[in-house]
């Protein structure tokens, strides 16, 4: 099947938002999606974007039963390692179920890897849920190493009340 990988445009945010929700459903956490295409538009397409996004598009004759031609996306941003410098972080990679097995996921990821290499990034990082075997296999086949297993890294977070409490106690200038 023919498909094209290209940089997302502001008008693609409704499709991206649709697929973000599909991925959240797959990850069993749909109630955790709090933002809509409006925030995506504001945060990705202003002079100082907080993420970059590539989408996979199929020709009209292969559109989905609901009439969509945008069938996959990858959302990423740049991070910094104090040990090695510039890195790229792949936050979301998703292809609609009916379009899998055709090299689209591989194509999206190849483009992010290419962008990373061009920007002199030393590595690409991502996180995967421990039960997500198809994804774990996909990434490990490409050389991904589980740093949680190898080095013991855990993800931690301050949000909501805990973040507000800390913020209120910040020393004044």
């Amino acid at each position: 099947m023919n498909f094209k990988v290209r940089a997302a445009r502001k008008e693609d945010c409704k499709d991206i938002s649709r697929m973000i929700m599909e991925l959240a459903v797959y990850e069993k956490m749909p109630d955790q999606v709090k933002i809509s295409h409006e925030e995506l538009e504001r945060d990705g397409f202003s002079p100082n974007p907080f993420y970059e996004c590539l989408i996979a598009e199929v020709p009209d004759e292969h559109k989905t039963k609901d009439g969509y031609t945008i069938v996959g996306y990858v959302l990423y941003f740049y991070t910094y390692s104090t040990w090695k410098g510039r890195s790229v972080y792949m936050e979301d990679l998703y292809v609609m179920p009916d379009f899998r097995g055709k090299g689209i996921g591989k194509g999206l990821m190849a483009k992010v890897a290419q962008v990373g290499v061009e920007k002199q990034c030393v590595r690409l990082q991502l996180s995967v849920l421990d039960w997500n075997k198809p994804s774990l296999d996909f990434y490990v086949a490409k050389g991904a190493e589980d740093l949680t297993a190898k080095e013991g890294w855990h993800f931690l977070r301050f949000d909501g009340q805990s973040l507000d409490t800390l913020a209120k106690e910040a020393p004044k200038d």
């Binding site: 190849a110 855990h154 913020a167």
Partner: protein
């Protein structure tokens, strides 16, 4: 009265920042993995497109460290994006020299970063900690941090440059 000052890092601080990065890496038992140079830190933090932001903790001259330093702590952070909740503040490194711990410096750094997160419309502050690093995990949990690896099963993966080149080849 406070015996230390927290301020935004300036270009002149890169040599102190690199020194502290190496001290933290040594504590994390990964000292040989630090290949970053002062030149890269300068370009990447204070150039046209900053890849990171940094806060440093400084003490007065008369309180300098045993080896003569006045910059005795730092935190490096940047902004990331969660497609479910939007902007996040990501804490990359956070370190206070051993002889200056226990006087609230680390605590104040975390509060300043939290305030920055709230002011810049971030829903959350994320970071990673090594599971054997009990003192740090307790420091964060006492202040309300949740462990997403334990609670939701997230695992961190990395693909190094040589494999990236293979993936990106046509």
């Amino acid at each position: 009265m406070s015996n230390f000052l927290l301020r935004k890092a300036e270009p002149k601080d890169v040599s102190d920042i690199l020194r502290l990065i190496k001290e933290l890496a040594k504590f994390e038992k990964m000292e040989e993995q630090v290949i970053l140079t002062e030149k890269e830190l300068l370009e990447d933090g204070f150039g046209d497109h900053p890849f990171y932001h940094c806060v440093v903790a400084e003490v007065p001259e008369d309180k300098q460290s045993s080896d003569g330093y006045t910059v005795i702590g730092f935190a490096m952070y940047y902004f990331t994006y969660d497609p479910w909740i939007g902007k996040l503040l990501y804490l990359e490194d956070f370190y206070v020299m051993k002889e200056f711990r226990g006087s609230g410096i680390g605590s104040d750094i975390l509060k300043v970063l939290s305030e920055t997160a709230v002011k810049t419309r971030c829903s959350s502050m994320h970071f990673i900690v090594a599971e054997w690093n009990k003192p740090s995990i307790e420091f964060y949990k006492r202040r309300g941090a949740s462990d997403l690896s334990d609670e939701e099963g997230w695992r961190l993966y990395a693909i190094e440059k040589n494999d990236l080149l293979k993936i990106s080849a046509k």
